[in-house]
């Protein structure tokens, strides 16, 4: 009764099937298979999970369960400049949520999404170990400390 129609290029399907085969098509290796696929494609959309389900002969619902359980898996493609906002305790107390809201407003996207032009994507993090600089924002490899909502526009401008 599944109505999902999956569209992938042949070489992508072959790649995923190949990864499954490397791990002996063993459902126990699901996490490793997903890691390898995410490294290759950058994210794990439904289509990829369906092919993994086929390759490991396990229900796709279980795979989706694992993908949504571990925060290092993502179902949306990262933007060219991935933006992460720390929501650890220190950052949170110092107003990280307001900063996050500002990014959402400026970019018109929610956490876990990316902009239409794939330029930016938005995610949140647990403590990144720079509490002294709270609230902390990462754009790609660059770290911004003591970010206030008013700084958001300027940060984004750097990547115009």
């Amino acid at each position: 009764m599944s109505h999902i129609k999956i569209e992938l290029r042949k070489e992508d399907v072959d790649f995923i099937k190949g990864v499954c085969a490397t791990f002996n098509n063993d459902p126990q290796e699901l996490i490793n298979v997903l890691h390898t696929c995410q490294e290759h494609f950058g994210y794990l959309p439904a289509e990829i999970q369906e092919v993994v389900s086929d390759g490991l002969n396990m229900p796709v619902a279980k795979i989706y369960g694992v993908v949504t359980f571990y925060s290092f898996f993502t179902m949306t493609p990262k933007g060219k400049h991935p933006i992460s906002i720390c929501l650890g305790t220190a950052c949170y107390v110092r107003g990280a949520e307001k900063v996050l809201d500002e990014f959402k407003k400026e970019l018109g996207i929610q956490v876990g999404e990316s902009t239409k032009d794939s330029k930016f994507s938005l995610s949140s993090l647990r403590c990144v170990g720079a509490c002294g600089l709270a609230p902390v924002v990462l754009v790609g490899d660059k770290t911004y400390g003591r970010v206030a909502p008013d700084d958001v526009k300027n940060i984004l401008k750097e990547y115009e």
Binding site: S2, H3, K10, A61
Partner: protein
């Protein structure tokens, strides 16, 4: 096995190694409350994720309270199950669960049979401190043809996940997300309708709360009953009569056939008929198909597919269409009894009473949720008018009878109407695992050998083992029969058919553990497999009491063929009583 001695609530008990504290306490008659834990002993079904922590107790030498449903007994252990500390912990756990739970018990379809509600009552919860500040998770309500998912009411016991994945091996649903947003859902949180769900309803039958319930069709049936232009015909499946009484406080296994008939008449149905009649008809068609395929096979015709698989369970049909579409020519083409009944009611019977099929409403009372979906399949309607209009579960019927203030326990037994209410014992046993194939053997034996069957009770085909097999002697021809109930067991037999290893001539499959008596629409068993066994006993008792016990001896079936269908397998029979199957496996489309 080693024996372990321990003390629970100051009483000593000896248990075999590996026993959990919960079970040891039960031996002593100590009832520790549980929520997520569930066991169906005779079916090897167990759920113990140790997630809810309602079952905790104090265990000597341990700092923390231990979940008794999953903690094993150790020698010399001293356990205290109801100390103030334990009671306090249970209350805290319960308050926590309830703080994120809707409080609309008033209109919840599980109200009265909800285990969470009962637990709140048992633990004396009258107030949930801080509930007004607690965040409440919200999910959309998902309504499929058979099942409603209202996950705001989910307490993450994961019983449904265990049923769907381990027992049924369907894997339509799984625990997804984490923390606050954790829930049980199909892949990508699609609606159930777009998942691989078979609508077997086994998740519904174990869900302790109102998170998973059946779609309620009683209001539509009521509307048909008040519409003077409609003739409303009802059919009742075999398994219903063996379980309906439970909803009215009767002991499991109490047969209420006559009272149920009386109650249906009192509810205002114009004709009270029996799906058992259609079960007899199914045997005529399926049995003929079996013998035809078998004799062609024995003559060396390789186009004759052996084994033949039964096709009367719509949950099972959904399963093979999804997972074994390559074998879709193997099952019998005979429709399920529900659909055979509808097809005959809206042609033969409508003609007989001189009405148009559009003015007839056919209602079925089923132990099953998959039947709700089945009767909505397009191929089972004529010009948009379905052969069966509404299918309601045993539970829905019970609620309907209560609404109408009918005192079913004190009704005089009544008989079904004629002609579609007449059946043999063979029709009755369709309700239990092994019953369909036993009924088929009774008829096929006599048709094949031309001899009278001396022993009608094929006890070798009965029982509760998940996969069973027996060889029946057809006067020199050994016929190998396989039986599976529960879709996980069916998968095992199907894998053999696919690989060509199967030695069976015929296989019966029922999606639900125990067969339809354990169906997803039956009164809740609350984890007690004795209930299901008692229903099976009731079914076989009814069979024994019937004057006729072979489908082909049913005089009304004989008449139906004489007056209307011709003979089994005729063109007309094919048109009305047979169907075909579809490949529903998801396709991976490759972009060029």
């Amino acid at each position: 096995m080693e024996t372990i001695k321990l003390t629970i609530d100051n009483k000593e008990v000896d248990v075999p190694g590996g026993t959990t504290i919960y079970k040891a306490a039960k031996e002593l008659g100590i009832d520790i409350p549980t929520l997520c834990y569930m066991e169906l002993h005779d079916m090897n079904i167990e759920n113990k994720p140790a997630g809810c922590r309602i079952c905790v107790a104090e265990v000597s030498g341990r700092r923390n309270l231990a979940p008794t449903c999953s903690t094993k007994c150790e020698s010399g252990m001293v356990v205290k199950t109801h100390t103030p500390r334990v009671l306090n912990a249970r209350r805290t756990v319960m308050e926590f669960i309830l703080s994120d739970h809707p409080k609309d018990c008033l209109i919840c379809s599980k109200s009265g049979t909800c285990e969470l509600q009962a637990m709140a009552h048992r633990l004396g919860i009258k107030d949930i401190p801080g509930a007004e500040y607690a965040a409440v998770s919200t999910y959309r309500k998902d309504t499929s043809p058979s099942i409603i998912r209202d996950l705001d009411k989910c307490i993450m016991c994961r019983r449904c996940e265990m049923m769907c994945n381990e027992v049924q091996t369907v894997g339509a649903i799984s625990a997804v997300n984490r923390g606050f947003m954790a829930t049980v859902a199909p892949a990508f949180e699609q609606n159930l309708e777009h998942s691989t769900c078979t609508y077997c309803g086994q998740c519904v039958s174990v869900c302790p709360t109102g998170a998973l319930t059946e779609v309620n069709h009683v209001p539509q049936v009521l509307r048909a009953l008040v519409d003077p232009s409609k003739t409303v015909v009802v059919q009742t499946a075999p398994a219903v009569r063996a379980a309906l009484g439970e909803e009215f406080g009767l002991a499991p296994g109490t047969l209420v056939t006559g009272k149920m008939t009386a109650a249906l008449r009192a509810l205002g149905f114009d004709y009270v008929f029996d799906t058992d009649f259609a079960a007899d008809l199914t045997i005529m068609e399926e049995g003929t198909e079996l013998l035809d395929r078998l004799s062609r096979h024995l003559k060396g015709d390789t186009t004759a597919k052996i084994p033949i698989l039964t096709s009367c369970c719509p949950g099972w049909v959904n399963f093979f269409e999804e997972y074994f579409p390559d074998l879709k020519n193997v099952p019998s083409t005979a429709k399920s009894p529900q659909q055979m009944f509808g097809a005959i009611a809206k042609t033969y019977f409508a003609d007989k009473i001189g009405i148009n099929r559009k003015d007839m409403v056919v209602v079925s009372i089923m132990p099953c949720l998959a039947k709700k979906y089945e009767c909505q399949r397009e191929e089972f309607s004529t010009d948009g008018n379905p052969d069966v209009d509404f299918s309601i579960s045993t539970r829905e019927l019970a609620s309907f009878i209560k609404q109408a203030n009918i005192d079913i326990k004190n009704l005089q037994d009544e008989e079904f109407d004629s002609p579609l209410g007449e059946s043999t014992g063979a029709g009755v046993i369709f309700g239990a695992t092994g019953g369909v194939i036993e009924a088929a053997c009774r008829t096929a034996f006599e048709l094949y050998t031309g001899k009278k069957l001396e022993r009608l009770d094929f006890t070798e085909l009965r029982g509760m083992d998940g996969v069973r097999s027996a060889t029946i002697d057809f006067d020199g021809l050994p016929l190998n029969i396989g039986i599976a109930h529960g879709l996980g067991n069916a998968r095992k037999l199907l894998d053999d058919v696919r690989s060509g290893k199967s030695q069976f001539h015929a296989i019966e499959v029922m999606a639900c553990p125990g067969g339809c008596i354990g169906g997803g629409g039956q009164p809740l068993h609350h984890g007690n497999s004795e209930v299901i066994k008692a229903r099976a006993t009731a079914i076989y008792t009814e069979d024994r009491k019937k004057p006729l016990r072979k489908s082909h001896e049913n005089p009304f079936i004989i008449k139906l063929y004489e007056e209307f269908l011709g003979k089994p397998g005729s063109e007309k029979s094919h048109h009305l009583l047979h169907t075909h199957y579809f490949d529903k496996k998801k396709k991976i489309i490759i972009k060029k």
